[in-house]
């Protein structure tokens, strides 16, 4: 019986330690709760969409030149 108790205590302390370890890992919870992470998402999205817009414009420009050259070749 005594050994069982010992084992149980050991197990509980271990579990508690695991729980503690999980609690002490900091994730950016304050940033999230303040809602500021959405600003970062917005900024990165704007930059990415800007690059995509640039690619679209470049694409249409090249298509226009190709069309023009096709016409002159005929």
């Amino acid at each position: 019986m005594k050994s069982y108790n010992c084992l149980l205590i050991l197990l509980f302390t271990l579990l508690q330690n695991v729980g503690m370890a999980q609690d002490t890992i900091d994730m950016a919870d304050t940033m999230r709760s303040n809602g500021k992470i959405y600003v970062v998402v917005g900024v990165i999205s704007i930059i990415f969409l800007g690059i995509i817009t640039y690619l679209i414009r470049l694409d249409s420009k090249i298509s226009r030149i190709e069309k023009k050259l096709n016409k002159t070749a005929e």
Binding site: A28, V41, F48, L49, I56, E66
Partner: protein, 245 residues
Amino acid sequence: MFQETKPRSWISKHWWKASGAILVMYSIVAGLLGDVPVLPILHESVRNLYFHVTMWFSMLAIFSFSLYYSIMYLTKSNIRDDINAEKFANTGILLGSLGVITGSLWARFTWGAWWVNDPKLNGAAISILIYFAYVVLRNSMDEEQKRAKVAAVYNIFAFVLMLVFVMVYPRLNQVDSLHPGNGGNPGFSSYDLDKNMRIVFYPAVLGWILIGIWISRLSARAEAIAYEQMTIFTKNKIDKNNEIL
């Protein structure tokens, strides 16, 4: 001249570009806001998986396209294939360099140094150098058929070396690696990449591959126009000279 036999609708022409942009956009929003596993050392930086690792996956895909065009050139000797092979290789180098730089930044804040002696880091750096050599070799020759042929052969060689350095060498049992899945470290499939991360990671890879193809094709089309203009120009010049003679 620029193959466009029948007019196609906007969707059939551009659907893959749009889906690439949407997939990457989704990975930015879901990647920053979604749930990630709580892990020591990594903390929130585990989200880099959606941006750093995707660079490597898309680099492999883009280099495969480059290899395909090189093989096509060697079988058909069409200069368009050579142009495509070069532009896809350039995009692959861009993605690989971004992978090295972002990996270096990530390593600084998780492993403690900008560069560690890890087989994956060194293998990736060597692969990028091998492709730099491809660019230098291709640009060192003037005669266009010869340049295309030598570059195509070297590209096949470079692809195989790249696979060995990026895929095989870090997986050897004798080498130790800090990367997950290598040198005795637990891999992607065990706990690193849980279900929440998978539904962001794989779309992100696909999106970056599509955007990589888009960038390469744009650059190849511009080069094809320049090439076409150049041949017309030199032909006119030769005709004129013949008239004078």
